[in-house]
């Protein structure tokens, strides 16, 4: 099963390679990974998406806690968190398809963040499903490239 796991780490030298090294050394999967500073500049948040059975996920969490620089690990349960990804989609536009591309982007609340005579770059955020939906619709309309971030996740409420 897919799990979204947030890992708060001390912002020390090499901390990302410790986390990544743990996953590669023990053969765990990383489906996506996202890292950035938190409000406290000494602490970063790594959000990773992984999959595995319950035993594997339990081991992953325990192994993460064993890393000295790891402060906190949260395995988000579905329904209890908001998860978002961001994608930049580059579409080659032809005069006859420009309007259709725009309309489609709007339905997904996408924003045009760059325009050239023959292209749009569309920014869209949302769940992986939503982004996949937009990708599917833009494919026949001249989609040439997709740049996606990993997921960030926040628990609901305070």
């Amino acid at each position: 099963m897919e799990h979204t796991i947030s890992v708060r780490v001390r912002n020390e030298f090499g901390v990302l390679s410790r986390v990544a090294g743990l996953f590669s050394a023990r053969g765990y999967n990383i489906d996506s990974l996202c890292v950035a500073e938190t409000l406290d500049p000494k602490v970063s948040q790594i959000t990773l998406v992984t999959h595995g059975n319950d035993d594997t996920i339990e081991q992953i969490i325990k192994q993460l806690y064993k890393l000295i620089d790891v402060v906190k690990v949260v395995d988000h349960q579905s329904g209890t968190y908001v998860g978002r990804e961001l994608a930049l989609l580059k579409v080659r536009t032809l005069p006859e398809s420009r309007a259709e591309v725009l309309r489609t982007a709007e339905i997904f609340r996408g924003k045009i963040v760059d325009v050239t005579p023959d292209s749009y770059t569309i920014e869209v955020t949302g769940s992986p499903d939503k982004i996949r939906g937009l990708v599917d619709l833009l494919q026949p309309l001249g989609l040439v490239d997709v740049m996606r971030t990993g997921r960030v996740a926040a628990p609901r409420g305070l």
Binding site: F13, S17, A25, E58, K62, Y65, K66, I68, V70, V71
Partner: protein, 569 residues
């Protein structure tokens, strides 16, 4: 007080009460070695960085104090890696300083630069790159704290040359608090009570313990716990010495070369009490047929050890000693324990029957070639099981585990998890330096010995009176055994009979050298060697064909053991 980084390292080591440092100098640690002139601790110059780290490791295992080593950048660090990995798999506390090129050169492929942090990360509990001299003292404090607490392990401090030369105001932090690193020592009462109810219900209990008992110093608590129950006890390679090997409750070691009665008892148990052990594959054999009828209690300080490979009904995270003390407290007031040993009498009868079926033993003919088992048995008898024994890796290691019934914790020093050939000699030097009054015996074989024999020089330089017992079977015995049994005797690259004359080699280094080629010489040579005040090598020229039995073939369930021998007790 302003001090340079190099001086700070020396001061911090003194603050930590370090009495011995093992190491090997080089370009980027020149300043550190210059500061060592004025140090209060002793520095032991190894002849190879691997040897130096194994010495620190042997010292740590023998004394319970952290081992300290210093190596230079690049090849110094890469040479140390096997030593670090050996200590890491066996949870041994080390603090190792690796030299590094100056900070502004890092990443430029400088002379003798290696990515020490990247290389040592998977073989250490934690590692640090110190980029600012002001961080040095707190980092060293943290390094010792992390190495020695929780599940211990080696910690590397990577020290760029310019940091060693820079200076700052020095003060050593007294206290340390790491919010994100809080090992759990206290066993949870609720969990212990639940586990106790399993103990009370059991009719076929077995205690299975490992290195955690040694690390936490829980021998006495373990003995009282087992005595109260009158329960059979088996142990892992790392647990040897946790109870006396010939204790009335001891079944001997379990696993691949364990005793038949241990493996059958674990297989037939209705309760397995795992204490400071980690269900290693050399112990369990085929995992899904391991002890299938038993409920399992597991005490371990490392939560990742619990339910890693084997399902456990009653997990208890905590220090082994702390948890056993709590068990003992509960047992004090537990009326249902009355008559417990009698209730499991049938179980003991069954175990004794297994032992009669396949006791452990060897058959030394009075005229035939010397058997390594016989040599080790004699070492055991002559030292009454009270020597500190280090081993290398291979058949001789397993025979030492089977026949040297070590009497005390911290007297058995072996590379269990990594199985590092070349560990025995330097580990013996380190152990003897830490325990100068005790007899230290290194049981080794010619393959392993040649991997770090340069450390003879270190032993002689400091007159470290180790007793090296070399069972020379002229082959990489353990590999040869697998080729004989599982590869139809297609021997491939296991003949190492082209050896130096070991007695003369030892003498060339300045050790005393002795040799036995016939059975009747064995005891005389041992008596003479053990009585010597000098470092000694005793070579026993043995038969190459001898195999270690019993044996669980790899991947088989542990009750399916091979017995190759006419056994004789």
């Amino acid at each position: 007080m302003r001090l340079t980084g190099a001086e700070i390292v020396v001061r911090c080591l003194q603050e930590e009460g370090v009495e011995l440092v093992f190491g090997y100098p080089g370009g980027v640690v020149l300043d550190l070695y210059d500061a060592i002139h004025r140090a209060k601790f002793r520095h032991i110059l190894a002849r190879h960085e691997q040897g130096g780290v194994h010495m620190a490791d042997g010292y740590a295992r023998a004394t319970g104090r952290p081992g300290v080593a210093i190596v230079t950048s690049g090849p110094g660090c890469t040479n140390a890696v096997t030593g670090l990995a050996t200590a890491y798999t066996d949870s041994i506390p080390l603090v190792v300083f690796t030299g590094q090129v100056p900070t502004q050169m890092i990443g430029n492929d400088a002379f003798q630069e290696a990515d020490n942090m990247g290389i040592t990360r998977p073989v250490t509990k934690h590692n640090y790159l110190v980029k600012d001299v002001r961080d040095l003292a707190p980092t060293i404090k943290e390094a010792f704290y992390i190495a020695t607490t929780g599940r211990p392990g080696p910690v590397v401090v990577d020290l760029p040359k310019d940091v060693g030369r820079a200076s700052t105001d020095y003060h050593y932090p007294r206290e340390i608090f790491l919010e994100h690193y809080q090992p759990r020592y206290e066993g949870h009462w609720g969990q212990i009570k639940k586990a106790m109810s399993l103990v009370l219900k059991a009719r076929r209990p077995v205690v299975y313990f490992g290195g955690g008992v040694i690390i936490s110093g829980a021998s006495e608590e373990l003995r009282r716990f087992c005595e109260k129950l009158g329960a059979p006890v088996t142990y892992t390679l790392m647990g040897i010495g946790g109870i006396p090997g010939n204790d009335r409750l001891s079944l001997g070691m379990l696993g691949m070369h364990g005793t038949y009665r241990s493996n059958l008892a674990v297989d037939g148990a209705d309760l397995l009490i795992a204490i400071g052990a980690r269900f290693d594959d050399r112990v369990t054999g085929k995992l899904d047929e391991f002890s299938t009828h038993s409920k399992k209690i597991h005490i371990d300080i490392d939560p990742t050890s619990i339910r890693k490979s084997v399902y456990v009904d009653s997990p208890i995270v905590g220090d082994v000693r702390n948890c056993l003390q709590k068990f003992l407290e509960l047992m004090e007031n537990e009326p249902k324990l009355e008559g417990y040993p009698e209730r499991i009498a049938d179980w003991w009868r069954q175990i004794e029957e297994w032992d009669r079926e396949h006791p452990i033993g060897y058959a030394q003919s009075p005229t035939g070639p010397i058997l390594p088992q016989y040599v080790i048995d004699k070492v055991y008898q002559l030292t009454r099981g009270e020597a500190v024994v280090t081993t290398d890796v291979g058949q001789h290691q397993m025979w030492a585990a089977q026949y040297y019934h070590s009497q005390k914790a911290r007297n058995w020093i072996t590379s269990g998890g990594l199985g590092t050939m070349g560990f025995g000699l330097p580990a013996a030097v380190g152990a003897q330096l830490g325990r100068p009054k005790d007899t230290v015996v290194c049981i080794t074989s010619e393959g392993s010995l040649q991997m770090n024999s340069q450390e003879f020089a270190t032993a002689v330089e400091h007159n470290v009176p180790i007793k090296v017992v070399l069972v020379n079977n002229g082959c990489l015995g353990m590999v040869r055994q697998w080729q004989e049994i599982f590869y139809d005797k297609r021997y491939s690259e296991v003949d190492v009979s082209q050896t130096p004359d070991f007695v003369r080699l030892a003498e060339a280094y300045g050790l005393q050298g002795l040799r036995a080629t016939r059975v009747e010489e064995v005891e005389t040579v041992l008596e003479k060697g053990l009585a010597s005040a000098r470092p000694v090598l005793m070579e026993f020229v043995c038969a190459p064909e001898e195999n270690v039995f019993p044996m669980v073939p790899s991947g088989e369930p542990s009750r399916k053991m091979l017995f190759g021998h006419p056994t004789q007790s």
